[in-house]
Point group: C2
Chain length 193, copies 2
DNA sequence: CGAAGATACGGACCCAGGGTCCGTTTACTC
DNA sequence: GAGTAAACGGACCCTGGGTCCGTATCTTCG
């Protein structure tokens, strides 16, 4: 390992910041009203500590997102079916999308914060590439499936945080949304059913 | 009409602002580096004039977007096939999506500016509702097509400005992108072909 | 255990950029 | 051509991301 272990207080503060940010994003109305100063205060820490530890706002949000996403990532990479790698493609595709959808529902404001972070498009985040690669590869396992690359992008676009948020705001329930997504995904896979 | 006609200089300035903004967005690298002050200067106008005429940044971008979109809107509402209302649903759906895609390609930065306008999600703009309603209705014309509402959202998500931008940046050509979108759309309509 | 060096801290500070205020100018009306 | 309403413009304000630097804290090693 090339990294030396960080100082104890630094590690503690890092956790405090992530926890505070999580709390604030979870309980706010719109993510952009959570300010960096707010997070610092809530974490009982100076502003500079945020920037020292996470570079900038985007970095903090991504770090937070990443920690929340980790369990799912793990489940996808080496968990059991229907998310894990041993799942047949026809079942894994809808399972992956459903997992993304549920994640966005469970972390609505955080996801909105991440994807709506102004300049930095969602497509420049590593985790997007990961999702896309994963889905892409699964689609390609379907023999004769053409355009898997674009299809993966398009399917992920269907579960973007702001769209999900919009639909929820319009009164669509979690289960209804999941059913609609499943039906839509089914259409894409249709001819292979 | 309840509106009185505006003063001549006001009308002239309005046009100058729209023209300047269009020019700046078209020639910039990223839309957020076009500042309101820049637009004012380029239009030979004071900043307050921008805000007086368009309320805020979002308002200006929307107004500009709207004027550029108008021809297409017209073509969709009462033009000839394949965009116009007399087109059979099976052909109109891909035509509509292709039109959206081409528009975003032709007005890349403007579209990015509109959809990435931070707080105001793309889903709160009137023109989105219009596109969605239109597509929704066409999909519903396909007998037995379920989930037209969600499908319309999902299909439109596949041509969001930042995704299109991302794919173009990755080297995908206009024609390739159009072909992929057509194939993807075909999948959605698949069982009705 | 205590001092030296490295590391982290925090809040005052900076600055860009969106949005506003108000004294002045300009276009219509009679 | 005078009077009025509408529009103008740029100085100004303020929020919020990001930085600076003197101070406090951890760690290490004698």
């Amino acid at each position: 390992m090339s990294e030396r272990k960080p100082r104890a207080d630094a590690a503690r503060n890092r956790e405090a910041v992530l926890a505070a940010a999580d709390r604030l994003f979870a309980s706010c109305e719109r993510p952009e009203q959570v300010t960096m100063a707010d997070i610092a205060t809530a974490a009982g820490v100076g502003k500079a500590t945020l920037f020292r530890g996470f570079t900038d706002r985007t970095g903090l949000i991504r770090a937070l997102y990443e920690t929340r996403l980790e369990p799912i990532r793990h489940a996808v990479m080496d968990g059991p079916p229907p998310l894990g790698p041993d799942t047949p493609a026809m079942e894994r595709v809808p399972a992956l999308l459903d997992a993304v959808l549920c994640f966005k529902l469970d972390h609505r404001h955080l996801s909105l914060a991440l994807e709506g972070t102004g300049s930095d498009s969602p497509y420049s985040a590593e985790h997007y590439d990961w999702w896309h690669d994963t889905l892409h590869r699964v689609l390609e396992q379907l023999p004769g499936f053409k355009g898997a690359d674009f299809a993966a992008h398009a399917l992920l676009a269907a579960v973007r945080a702001d769209l999900v948020d919009h639909l929820v705001d319009r009164g669509m329930s979690r289960e209804h949304l999941r059913a609609e997504l499943a039906a839509y995904t089914g259409r894409i896979l249709g001819e292979f059913a």
